[in-house]
Symmetry: C2
Subunit: 387 residues, 2 copies
């Protein structure tokens, strides 16, 4: 096990009828909030009304900043920062999924800086302070509700970059599984894929596989993501299924799985970011295409971790033979297909001849994340296994 620091100060309020806590939890940090949300689905399903009523009752004035898109854009973040400054906002409230929460984090960091917010993403500046953030989560997927990371796409260059800072943990995140009842089936599956991908990145790229405590935790999270996703798809209003998936996705990327693993990379996310940035693919849909291809590429030199995972999470034949890495990858891929998440670039309508251009885009992030082994040729090779 490698040395680590674990310090996750986010307060989680989890369960039914918890949205009414957003007012008092926000009031602890100020009296004027920027309310960040997405395309307006929260106005249809009643969540917006609950949030604004609670904020108003607590005496928190609301400055609106709706319209966050999936694969959220830098330009919209910059508008949010301007709004914070012009309205003397004390605290940011994010209501939505990972895109909304990440946009809110970028606004929190950018509003406290004298320079443009993209300098954090390009690595030219580090976060020294940030506005406080409270959140109401409406999608089980990104884990942003209990971590310090964020991902934003720069409109002009189609760069989808991410980074983290200890200043960006939400102060409080409210997770009411009932808010996810209306998430469509495809996005429910994409959320589960995202949670699985987060765990797999750590599991596969650890520099120290002697971490049995973390292994069991990660294997359990993958099993639960798969199981709870299937139950959500069978009955979208199954409270326990929605709750299991929501808490699983949070635990998948709150720092616990990675504690003790040493340096890890996020190569599958790195490649998927280019799919999202160039084709505006849903993040989870891109991941279920990249994961099997990356695993096939990885297994050529490193089959053992994949085999180990398979022996822990899948049942194979009755003779208890150890599975091969290719059997494990096929089982995982079959599961993605079963929940109707795409597994081939062609399903995303991305033609093979675009692979060089995607690799060109991805290699920029590889350099920024210091994933030096991922040259343009290597990324092309991996993408060719995603066809």
């Amino acid at each position: 096990m490698q040395n680590f620091v674990f310090h996750n100060p986010t307060k989680i309020i989890f369960g039914r009828d918890t949205i009414a806590s957003i007012g008092p939890e926000t009031k602890a940090w100020g009296t004027r909030c920027l309310l960040v949300y997405g395309g307006g689905s929260i106005k249809k399903n009643g969540i917006y009304d609950k949030v604004t009523a609670s904020l108003q009752e607590a005496g928190v004035a609301i400055i609106e900043h709706g319209g966050v898109q999936s694969n959220p854009l830098l330009s919209h973040v910059r508008e949010g920062i301007d709004r914070v400054r012009h309205n003397e906002v004390d605290v940011v409230v994010a209501v939505g999924g990972g895109s909304v929460l990440d946009s809110a984090k970028a606004i929190c960091a950018g509003a406290a800086a004298a320079h443009d917010v993209w300098k954090f993403f390009s690595g030219k500046k580090s976060v020294k302070a940030a506005l406080p953030l409270t959140t109401v989560l409406t999608l089980a997927a990104s884990g942003s509700e209990m971590n310090s990371g964020m991902v934003i796409t720069r409109d002009e260059t189609r760069e989808k970059f991410g980074f983290g800072s200890r200043h960006l943990y939400p102060k409080t995140s409210i997770l009411d599984p009932e808010t996810t009842y209306t998430v469509p089936k495809n996005y429910t599956a994409y959320g589960a894929v995202d949670a699985i991908a987060h765990v797999l990145e750590y599991y596969m790229t650890t520099e120290d596989p002697a971490t049995p405590v973390q292994d069991r935790l990660m294997e359990g999270l993958i099993l639960n993501a798969m199981d709870s996703c299937e139950r959500c798809l069978a009955d979208p209003r199954d409270y326990n299924a929605r709750a299991d998936l929501m808490w699983t996705a949070t635990l998948a990327l709150n720092g616990l799985t990675g504690a003790g693993l040493g340096r890890v990379g996020f190569p599958m996310h790195m490649i998927e970011h280019s799919l999202s940035a160039l084709y505006n693919v849903a993040h989870g849909a891109g991941l279920s295409v990249v994961i099997p291809g990356w695993l096939r590429w990885h297994s050529a030199a490193n089959p053992d971790r994949i085999t180990h995972l398979g022996s822990r999470i899948f049942r194979f034949d009755a003779q208890h033979n150890e599975p091969t890495s290719s059997q494990t990858i096929r089982k995982l891929e079959n599961w993605f297909a079963r929940v109707k998440s795409p597994i081939r670039l062609s399903e995303l309508n991305i033609p093979d001849e675009h692979i060089p251009a995607i690799s060109d885009n991805a290699v920029n992030l590889a350099r920024f994340w210091r994933l030096d082994q991922y040259t343009k040729d290597t990324i092309e090779e991996i993408l060719s296994l995603c066809r």
Copy 2:
């Protein structure tokens, strides 16, 4: 899944050569510390020198308060509180295992109150504030390093009572697995038993067994406590084994396992506390006696959770028949015996005729913890299964 709030603000610094962080981590909270420790083993193994050097280098003045016993005493806590007041202490530093950390927490709470500290334990007062606490852990067992609980024994009445408050999370806990190299084999095993017991209390007494995420986490922790303990006993200086056991014990009682389970009881601890209080038995040694007896008693009406646990953590016959609850209990009991933790009251030199007196003591804590189904007769019945 039941509603829950999870908010664990403790910063964990984990790994080799991390003790030197205690100075700066403590300096963040003040310039005069009370240094709480036990019988002086930390002076023999060099930990005391490392801690005091780091504190002095950071400019933190040290007021000594050594001599904490296992099953720590209220009288010694009261002396610590006096020392805090007479020396204008800002922050408490605990260096040791659970007894030392719990004593330090009681001092932190008592020093910030105008009344006697036992009023917290007897339920007459609640904690409104506490001095900040930093810790250096030297035993993998209690989980006190990352939770808000504590247990103290009142000398005059032999009551071993415990409670928690959100003010009592340590600010920072430093966990260097190398500090546990010199823990004797019996206490290494008792620590693993304690971690297993913490998980079992939640696992068995949950009011909502529909918590598959938490189940996998708990099953993984039990498996890892057993596996890493065996590796520590085989080679006490196996770094990874010590690290695995240490982090497992921390995760076993930091709030994660219980999040979503609703109200749980700690009946096995409740009964064990009387063994410790009356006979000064090592906590883990008492637990390995109580656990199999309590499970046998519990399985008469509730075999299913025990069977479920068995199917998850033990391998039974090749035909994959579901294990019975009694097979599961026997496997667990055999494991306690294998690591030489006692499994019968007679091994603790407690004669059968003392059972009524032990029950008399235990029923007080049962009332305080509102475990109303545990009458004196019931506790006698359970203890009779521990013979």
